[in-house]
Symmetry: C2
Amino acid sequence: MTKTRDNRRWLYVRVAGAIEALIRSGVLRAGDRVPSVRRTSAQHGVSVTTVVQAYVALEDRGLIEARPKSGFFVRAQLRDQVPEPKASRPAIAATTVEFGSLQTKIFEAALLPEVVPFGAAYPGAENLPVVKLNRIMASVARREGAGAVGYDMPPGCEALRRQLAKRSLDWGTQLSPDDFITTCGGTEALALCLRAVTKPGDVVAVESPSYFGVLQQMEELGLKALEISMHPRDGMNLEALERALKRRRVAACLAVPNFNNPLGSLMPDEHKLRLIEILARYDIPLIEDDINGALAHSGPRPRVAQSFDRDGRVMLCGAFSKTIAPGYRIGWVAPGRYYAKVKALKLSSTLATASLPQMAIAEFVANGGYDHHLRRLRQNFAAQIRHTSEAISAAFPPDIKVTRPTGGFVLWVELPKKVSAFQLYERALAQKISIAPGPIFSASQAFENFIRINCGHPWSPRLERGIGTLGKLVESLR
Amino acid sequence: MTKTRDNRRWLYVRVAGAIEALIRSGVLRAGDRVPSVRRTSAQHGVSVTTVVQAYVALEDRGLIEARPKSGFFVRAQLRDQVPEPKASRPAIAATTVEFGSLQTKIFEAALLPEVVPFGAAYPGAENLPVVKLNRIMASVARREGAGAVGYDMPPGCEALRRQLAKRSLDWGTQLSPDDFITTCGGTEALALCLRAVTKPGDVVAVESPSYFGVLQQMEELGLKALEISMHPRDGMNLEALERALKRRRVAACLAVPNFNNPLGSLMPDEHKLRLIEILARYDIPLIEDDINGALAHSGPRPRVAQSFDRDGRVMLCGAFSKTIAPGYRIGWVAPGRYYAKVKALKLSSTLATASLPQMAIAEFVANGGYDHHLRRLRQNFAAQIRHTSEAISAAFPPDIKVTRPTGGFVLWVELPKKVSAFQLYERALAQKISIAPGPIFSASQAFENFIRINCGHPWSPRLERGIGTLGKLVESLR
């Protein structure tokens, strides 16, 4: 029985591989009809069922598409059409961060239910384990008695910290429960880390572009941003980082090595090692935001840069907000040698993290529900990224550029030079479509003709129409 | 039926009043036997049941006590024995706050389950509506679907803000749901307010003594504390405040007009009005911490100072941590004219407050459970304060002083001059008893011979033994 199933599994993978080879080699091109199911069945000596299984798998991966009553066809591959953006070239000087309430306004508009949700980077409810989590929360609340309403003082829920420690093996490192402090979401984790190693006026090296929430925190803390060039696939340009560090004193470096927001870039392991070596040489702490680390579209979970650290200079941050429950507000930090300072700041910032949400997540992780959910979520995000990319390449003018993230759920789109992202933002919002304009991802407000598109929601006609409208607006602004 | 019940109620109140008058006038003194139930029944022409009801009421209020097989006796009234502390006389200069991790260490030790819990100011689980809240949480989690796991962005849960607005009428003010921002506990509310109106190096006028958590926040923010003298009953000395404001530039004033922690002082309404007038004259914002406002031992809920404010300079903070659920981490702030700044800081500090705990509390408040619970809680805290005071006056040397709070659940004890609170703290902890030493309630680390005693737990032989041991330790240190 098991043998048969294994055989069949192996067969369909082999057939899919053969067809993929034909596409990759250019034998089959965009628009070509794929050999019929019957013909392939005969050619490979496998059952029709096996071939159908192979074709569905290829369809899932976006390589072919079914057309009603005509069979399967090779899809236009995104990489044949729209190029990626080039590496960013930020200003050399450190910039005082000053947005006022701009980012907040944009973020709030993006969350209105009547607005097409391309603006804020958050997963749609359909992608969250709503029913399972609510069931666990209900049972934990009933079971825990006084523990459910009492303080769970920092470092926070031990059951959750144990699960994090276990999972850290998957991150290529080995942390103990005592290395973690739980926080009110990833936002608090990052804020505590910034406060732990900087004082007002200090300079922090950040990615360019980087998550606007962190820039907002830096503004509130009176910090200056030194923006480092980013490659759209490999992440931070380490030569640029070293040049910057030679030039001026930097209090900390903040990076998202795994699936940067908004680029989706993934820093290769060798680069992570070099990053740690460089920062050790200059004795600079790294705030590593691993919020998207669990969201590789396929393949293994990438390592954290912290795994190369030998002297506790990395403050590793993460959260469950992008994977299961934004509203539970549960994040964590493993602050290395800055543990005592971060814990003191946690106490004076929010005293403790809410007890029940921690307990519920600990149970969801411990009973395997989290891993099960992650497998589906990663596939969903991959599909949503693919659909959105394709819709953009169909609806936008041809001289745009789009990232090709291998993880996470956002796209970064370079528009024609003349198109102002802010203008596009205003016009789109007037039509009830939210986007995130590029300049909010940069302290120097660069990226004037870039936008970020959230792909956290299941692909739908509403989203497709939204991309279509955006395409027309871009056209009208050029 | 109703009439009979009303009559009986009126009768027992009348009998209790007659006995109380005998005690207050000195006809019956401490240790005297109260007239027997039978005799009082005959004297007042009421049933035995009514007299028993009257005596139980007097016992509940601490005026008399039953002794097995001997009847009821007048209790030693605390006010006959132990005097109150005098008004505090803080240093005139502003002090940079520097505790290091001292307060944290003390706070953590105080929460260990094996330690007698006089150290941290928190209510025991027996005083929290554990079963009801857990049941509501379970039902809300099942009912709310995606809303339970999604973001509830600032200003936060509308249902909860509506309830707060309704309750604000009881506080002597009239706030709208839009005036509130919900926070991760009272701690975050205070931290956001401090950050909104100060920058590092600024001076903040604070009560002396004041809640150490706020001093810790000021330390993290690089603020200086200007300590203002406090009267143990009336709270902040407003002449002292005015003298201080004439002397130097102050960025903000932080006060707990209703049941200051650790004094339990209650600022009279005229003082609240004057406080607001003084701060208006000097154009200084007031951070009003109303965390204990709902905890009057008897009588009406005191007004908030904010109710006298005409120009939005008061940032009113509160929380549900001391009344129903420390571990839910739900607080609020009505930041007046500083609304936009506080909201921006909330976003960059923790992004949002956890959704489910807000929903559960909103429901508990809306369905009347909160008010019902508060009535019992206030009685419990009154009784616990009374028991602890009496135990202290019995076990400690006679030359101590103890506050007589009319709300909240902490006592502030002045020990003989020679006794070091820190030494007492160390020796008590060695015997697994936690206390909060006085100096952590002052930036200048005054109050060297004061301690704060938490009375948040139901009175028990374990607590009584703890007070007994403390009394011996005080004796040994003098």
